[in-house]
Amino acid sequence: MASPPFGVLLVTGGMTHQENYGAGFLADPRATVVGLTDESDVDERRDRLNRELADQFGIPFLPDIREALARSDVHLVSVCSEFERRTRVSQLCAEAGKHLYVDKPMVTNMAEADKLVATARRRGLRGQMFTQVGAPYARRLKGIVDSGALGEIKSIQCDLMFAKGFTGGAPLGAPRREHDPPRRFTFPDAKREIWTTAVYSLTLIRWLLGGPRFRSVYATSANYFFEEHYKRDVEDFGTLALTLDNGVTASLIAGRIGWHSHRSSGPNFTRIIGSNRSFLLDAHSPRFEISSDRKWAPPAKDPIDPMGFWSSTMERGNAQPKPFWHEPPTAPGRSDQALFLDCLEQDKEPEVTLDDAAQASEAMLAAYRSAATGQVVPLPLPR
């Protein structure tokens, strides 16, 4: 069992989720954030964003990642490098013997995923991917499933969409033609929404069920809302229908559907069908619904981040929370970073391991293949 403080090295900075994860580690008294680093050959924009976040956090910028990883006061890394670099950087960190806290999704290539999981296992490292399993709604669902009240679980449906972005710019009227494999994952103005949103539901489903593996995927992808996604030829909406090796089935909707599509952060429903009964949880419940003369408008469209992906952009645009619902907490919330530090402190496996992260990526890569071919794709994917 290790003891705090744990030295944390942030890898890759501004305009990534490091803005949130770094803040989470900085807020935890068990962590000491020793600096922010990245690969030495990143482009000028990335280098500037890295230095800016280091300045904002008041931590050193360490320009040589290998030197930073060689430091004995670094026990874990928080990796938020762009999708195309994320596995390579994570592999470097694992080979340096550092515990891994990784943004989602973790990998874009299953052979690289296998290598990373094997390296972490061989080195006796803990690894966790950011998800929503620590969120109060997920804890409520887990309690219900584990209570046995629903009986044997037969199927789970998850509908998770984010209410952000300015809609109406995507031409409609024809099915989207998907690409297999996806050509690219990272763009400044668009995210593949199966890739960045379905990952939450995929990890939630397996976590609720105790870890069965996905066996098949049937998926659709679409461009319904955003000009940015259309121009980048990436989906802003997708559906997956899945089977798991314990006989349970699942379906999910993942998407980004516009600032005005929801009175809070976006629809988030989970339906669980059991042999005794079914249960539907709205993650925004219980809530007070407010009708008043208070008006709300989305922040102005940011030229650098038009979809409002990042906390810094929302802050710069003075984004205001929607005033329509008040959702009182039903359970004490803990940050995902705190949950990972718990695992290091108590020497226990994270609830979403690197292997779980790889499973989620594999299901999503299969989803793109399914959406491209119109067929059901069996898992595991060929390596």
Binding site: H260, I273, V376
Partner: protein
């Protein structure tokens, strides 16, 4: 008039005003009957209702579950690119479950939510699935998909 026919008619005119822009996707959860034999026809009828709301032809369907499982889960993809995810479940009277319908209709400029407990407020409702040509065709396609484990195109049979 069956409940699902009423549901279709109740929204068709409103959608002409484009309250959420162009309807592009639907999520539907339906618990209407204890009869497992109604699951596939209910899912088929709801897929037909979604098609009417989308102004689209018959979709391709992929189905999971089955009557023996107590639920049918359908992914329907329409010729115009719209999508519907539909789950029809059997009611468990033993568990005290009541008929319920929850819909999330997603447009390209907003969403509509609908929640109902058919019959709970002393309305007399016919919860049996309607038997229109589109519903029948989609019920056949859903049944074929459940048998084959593959997606199936919805096609109206011409009786010959």
């Amino acid at each position: 008039m069956s409940y699902l026919e009423w549901l279709e008619n109740s929204l068709t005119d409103k959608l002409e005003e484009q309250p959420v822009g162009e309807p592009v996707a639907l999520r539907a959860y339906l618990e209407l009957s204890e009869d497992h034999g109604h699951l596939v026809p209910t899912a088929g009828a709801m897929a037909a209702v979604a098609g009417a709301w989308f102004g689209a032809g018959l979709p391709k369907v992929y189905a999971l579950g089955g009557a023996g499982q107590g639920y049918v889960s359908v992914t329907a993809t329409y010729p115009g690119g719209q999508t519907a995810l539909i789950v029809a479940e059997s009611l468990s009277a033993a568990a005290g479950e009541r008929p319920s319908v929850r819909l999330l209709l997603i447009g390209n400029r907003g969403t509509m939510e609908f929640a109902d407990a058919p019959g709970a407020d002393f309305r007399t409702v016919d919860r049996t699935p309607p038997a229109g040509a589109g519903s029948a065709a989609l019920s056949r396609a859903i049944a074929d998909s459940l048998r084959s484990g593959a997606p199936v195109e919805g096609r109206v049979h011409n009786g010959g």
